[in-house]
């Protein structure tokens, strides 16, 4: 006779925020500082996804579970949100994500030809990653640098207009690490940390403002001429 199958715990339990296990203590501490900046935790979801990408280079399922616990949503909600955004990669990407814009201004400046050259020289199609995991090539939408076309970004750093020749040099430099000082690994977005006002004062300020408003209202009421009944 087999043991009776234990009754599954209520689904809620699976949703209870667990302590982060994947994100490093430093990332978790930065995440908590970010969360404190917003009136509602969930607002930090996307900034936290960027932080997770800074740690791992892409948004891993384990990181999404941690983020879900930190901001109080389900891992599915993190995935469902992250998958909406081009910059959040739920699949591994190369150390360098090379984005070639082919939108209108760049198209008029030869971007389609540049992308074709990039695909040929890297041996991958747009969206693909080189076998050595160095470069992911992306066909990007407008990156707002339209006076230097065709516009190319590496890990969201502008590298200026590129010709097929300069593009090959760029890739060679990336492979040799020659531009690592200027271009951080993929995922690192904002290297400047918030230095002030970290303990969010907005709630305290809002409370003061509420008290002021109440006081003002009371004052106005006291100063208002008494309504004359039947006038």
């Amino acid at each position: 006779m087999t043991e009776p199958t234990p009754i599954a715990p209520p689904r809620r339990a699976a949703l209870a925020p667990a302590a982060p296990t994947h994100l490093s203590p430093d990332v978790v501490s930065r995440a908590q500082q970010l969360i404190a900046l917003y009136p509602e935790k969930r607002s930090a979801l996307i900034p936290l996804c960027h932080l997770a990408q800074e740690q791992d280079g892409w948004l891993t399922p384990e990181a999404m579970v941690d983020i879900a616990g930190l901001v109080g949503v389900t891992p599915g909600e993190v995935l469902g949100t992250a998958s909406f955004y081009d910059m959040l990669h739920t699949e591994p990407v190369g150390k360098y994500v090379v984005a070639v814009c082919t939108n209108i201004a760049c198209l008029l400046g030869g971007a389609a030809e540049l992308l074709e050259h990039a695909e040929d020289s890297l041996g991958i199609g747009a969206g693909g990653t080189t076998a050595d995991g160095t470069v992911t090539l992306e066909e990007a939408e407008c990156l707002a640098d339209c006076d230097r076309v065709p516009c190319v970004q590496v890990n969201h750093r502008y590298v200026g207009a590129q010709t097929p020749e300069s593009f090959d040099q760029l890739i060679a430099d990336l492979r040799s690490g020659a531009r690592d000082g200027e271009i951080p690994p993929h995922g690192t977005l904002i290297r400047v940390r918030r230095a002030n006002g970290l303990a969010v004062e907005s709630e305290a300020i809002a409370d003061e403002r509420r008290a002021e408003a109440a006081a003002r209202a009371a004052r106005d009421e006291a100063a208002a001429p008494t309504e004359v009944k039947g006038a």
């Binding site: 509602e40 198209l107 008029l108 407008c142 004062e201």
Partner: protein, 434 residues
Amino acid sequence: MAITDPPKIVTARMGHDDSHTLERYLATGGYDGLRKALAMTPEAVAAEVDTASLLGRGGAGFPAGRKWSMLRKAPVTYLVVNGDESEPATFKDHLLVERDPHQLIEGVVIAAYALQVTQVFIFIRGEFALGLERVQAALNDAYAHGAVGRDIFGSGFSVDVVVHPGAGAYICGEETALLESLEGKRGWPRIKPPFFPAAIGLYGDPTVVNNVETMSNLPWIMLNGGAAFAALGGGRSTGTRLFALAGHVANPGVYELEMVTTTFNDLINAPVLGGGIPHGRALKAFIPGGVSAPWFGPDQIDLPLGQDEVAEAGSMLGSGSIVVMDDHTCAVRAAWRITKFFSRESCGQCTPCREGSGWLERIMERIERGDGREEDLDLLLDACDNISPGLNWPPQQTTICVLGPSIPSSISSAITMFRDEFLVHIKEGGCPYE
């Protein structure tokens, strides 16, 4: 008067390599506008902006002063700055956040004071990594300088400002989608009514959403007065504006020009500005205000750079981006690429936009490839009509937001202006420009 004579309002510091630093900002009158504002009542500051008649610089061109006056009175209100610049070929806010972040922050605090909000979020598109770093660094310095935070310059006014990075989605430039994104969700626009941000915005509280360039004008307006700003330009289009010039011109770039008194011809052809079309080619068409705008031809080049003037001519000044196409440009290919952009960026909520953009893109692609059919032109216009009935300007819409009705602009412009070119693609089975 020369085109370059009017004052530089938002690009005054751009000649300096260190224009993004607090030192340079303070050495060039930085935060004086804020000090002046803090000595006035919030109502007086708002009145000054009203006098300036500053039209929003994001794309819709709604007067900033009126937007502020519509903010519902509530204990908690927010100011959100829209720096999600992603309308193709628009790159003016890119310049402002990277090169003059303090000017933006000063404008933001002035607006916060006028609106009496306690919390500001500056939403900057994620692809502006340097811009995000520059604004965060400037914000750190501004807090230390006493220009942001508690009891600003001893005035008793306090406000917290947070820089929020986007994650790559064109739709987040739409203000209600931006608010959703700021709440940690997909950038899905909210339906208006009832979700006008001034009534029900961030976390359901009243919220003003203003563009980066709009904010960046405020320090100058405070220092020089709304009347001085309103004296520039003409009609409703007051002041100067940043025009991002791209495409087939000798000198693409961002130019700050007085509105209305300057024309598209000046911008495109003046030697000190666009410098004309290179390689001895001629103008074929230009897009006057971002790819959501209907195109203009050479006969409309003398139109003034004014919001109402461009609207009356059947298009829009929109985001202030002008794309120039020379006579070697394939109109089909240009319109196809713009359609592909909308197809990729449709948020997926509304059927006409989600499905329509995909079908339009595939039909445009097959015409460009040489597999088009003659009935495709009617099919394209029919599909466009389903998204924006009547294909009029300003457009009707069947969708929650204006991304949908922006899709037909390039297609119907290209078909109207260059029908023969479509027919050549179809009859000869390929692109004649290749």
